[in-house]
Amino acid sequence: MAERSNSEEVKLLGMWASPFSRRIEIALTLKGVSYEFLEQDITNKSSLLLQLNPVNKMIPVLVHNGKPISESLVILEYIDETWRDNPILPQDPYERTMARFWSKFVDEQIYVTAMKVVGKTGKERDAVVEATRDLLMFLEKELVGKDFLGGKSLGFVDIVATLVAFWLMRTEEIVGVKVVPVEKFPEIHRWVKNLLGNDVIKKCIPPEDEHLKYIRARMEKLNIKSA
């Protein structure tokens, strides 16, 4: 039960197709926190966004009772510390550390490398796909014997790694290369099915058709050929 009064103000400056924004929505929804979502146009940044995140000028920004917090991983930890129902980080310090480690790995290694696949062709693309797969193998191994990266139930790393499940894996069809084939990554595919069995995840990820349309449109704008 939320201990705080109903006058608590939670706003989220986000973007409907951004994995970094959606992960915040997942966390807030898991904890039953009501929030006002303020859709941002990242190609034409609002004065509100620039005022609330003057340093990085990026979404997502969580605003809690007027005070802004930026950087999605930082926001996720803040949410977990502030609304204690349904904890997303484990209690044990070592396990917490591993959760932080894998989350950083998803954002700084997998995401950065996978992004390089878009727009590349031939041998160059093959090399990046190979590099992405090498990184994904670490997640594949982490999932052996587990329903979720967090163990028996959905946790911090799962929320962060939705980036892999619903962004990286969705763009495969558009980019024209199966970066995460089921033969090589059976555990990851099993995990995606488990995620889709969760009501909060289903509710909070971008609707597939719209999402794919958006990605195609973006690639067109950037003059990148899509499959």
């Binding site: 005070k67 926001i75 510390e81």
Partner: protein, 219 residues
């Protein structure tokens, strides 16, 4: 309880310095093991198979990687009168934001100062100064980034101070002239025993840079 704490590190690493300082702040005895990054040891490869990088903190046989993550771990496992992070969630979030900022911005631009030439070097220098000014503005008139107490953000940044003389030499500029408040902050920090023990001398770093460039194949 017999506690085993090992730190796999490399003496000029400003990231390793963070972990050294954090352990010293908590009075934790640790076994410092110097690593040769051009001939990585089996223990390094075993304990950090994902990144194969230092620093690696090994606590009772279990590895913790990534210096900012190590700082949080140290703070949680050895809670004491001197916490590294504030207890208020909003203050903690601010500290982590700045730690992340330092991680993402400082090293990259600084590296262009000693590791690049021409336009890239100039661009790196410009960016580096801008980043330091942003940090200086965040510091304001406070004693430390967190206020009156030395903590997480100070530790995240101070290791770079040992490299400032090298940056100034290779960049041909004065950091103090650009950011006097930041230099004053750094001088306050190095007075702390934990920092003095953990930072190598500036001269040693400056002498090391040409050797490092050679090892990395940079002219």
């Amino acid at each position: 309880m017999a506690e085993e704490v090992i730190l796999l590190d490399f003496w000029p690493s400003m990231f390793g310095m963070r972990t050294r300082i954090a352990l010293e702040e908590k009075n934790v005895k640790f076994d410092y093991r110097e690593q040769d990054l051009w001939n990585k040891s089996p223990i390094l490869l075993e304990m950090n198979p994902v990144h194969k990088k230092i620093p690696v903190l090994i606590h009772n046989g279990k590895p913790v990687c990534e210096s900012l993550i190590q700082m949080e771990y140290i703070d949680e496992v050895w809670p004491s009168k001197t916490p590294l992070l504030p207890s208020d969630p909003y203050q903690r979030a601010q500290a982590k934001f700045w730690g992340d900022f330092i991680d993402k911005k400082v090293y990259g631009s600084a590296r262009l100062i000693w590791g690049a030439k021409g336009e890239e070097h100039e661009a790196g220098k410009k960016e580096f100064i801008e980043i330091l000014k942003t940090l200086e503005s965040e510091l304001g008139d406070k004693t430390y980034f967190g206020g009156e107490t030395f903590g997480y953000v100070d530790i995240a940044l101070i290791g770079f101070y040992s490299w400032f003389e090298a940056y100034e030499k290779f960049g041909n500029f004065s950091i103090e002239a650009e950011c006097p408040k930041l230099i004053a902050w750094a001088k306050r920090c190095v007075k702390r025993e934990s920092v003095a023990k953990s930072l190598p001398g500036s001269e040693k770093i400056t002498k090391f840079v040409p050797e490092l460039k050679e090892k990395l194949g940079i002219e």
